[in-house]
Symmetry: C2
Subunit: 121 residues, 2 copies
């Protein structure tokens, strides 16, 4: 719960690291290391988050109210070291706005023919 949910606009544009973390959390809560792995996976290895960027970004995002730590899930065999995070309402809103911004950039690029037609796959 974010206190008196502030305007997401003031947080834009999000950095690539922050955007990817929020996107990784869109499918459910996750712990830090899993986030890094997922980002690496869904960017096809193009982006690798080292610990500095990962935990640095997480800390800043908590301060900004974009994410928050979630209670540890008691799944059997869960690694005790893990710390889970979830996106706040503010985080989800900020991600949505950022994505719309990116969408527009891509749309402008298409109109200017610096990009081909939308990817078929």
């Amino acid at each position: 719960m974010s206190r008196r949910d502030p305007d997401p606009s003031s947080l834009l544009p999000l950095t690539p690291a922050v955007t990817h973390i929020l996107l990784a959390l869109a499918t459910g809560d996750a712990h830090g290391y899993a986030i890094a792995k997922e980002v690496e996976e869904l960017t096809e290895g193009q982006i690798r988050m080292g610990p500095g960027t990962l935990y640095g970004s997480i800390g800043r995002m908590i301060d900004a109210g974009l994410i928050e730590e979630s209670p540890r899930r008691p799944r059997s065999g869960d690694d005790e070291r893990r710390r889970y995070y979830r996106a706040t309402l503010l985080g989800r809103r900020a991600l949505e706005r950022e994505l719309r911004r990116l969408e527009r950039v891509v749309a402008v690029a298409r109109a200017r023919r610096v990009l081909g037609r939308p990817e078929p796959a």
Copy 2:
């Protein structure tokens, strides 16, 4: 002219400022102030580039070989103060790759239903 055109991949991800400048130069050469105005226009006022970001980015982009100064066009009534720039081949390639990266991010977001269907307009 960029010396021995390097791999555009090493320059990714581009910052929003750099991406917008390259996008503004996609339709033809332009001078600094015009670039700033165009970015403000095609982001619907959401992004405003102050002189620090504008000329700072331009300088860094020249160093990186993404853009280069172009000969002044002798158009009648041209303002003598203006300095024109054009995107290099490296710059165009880097922009294209960056845009494809953004495209994938948006596509992933759609697959995860954090974004609605493609904008109709």
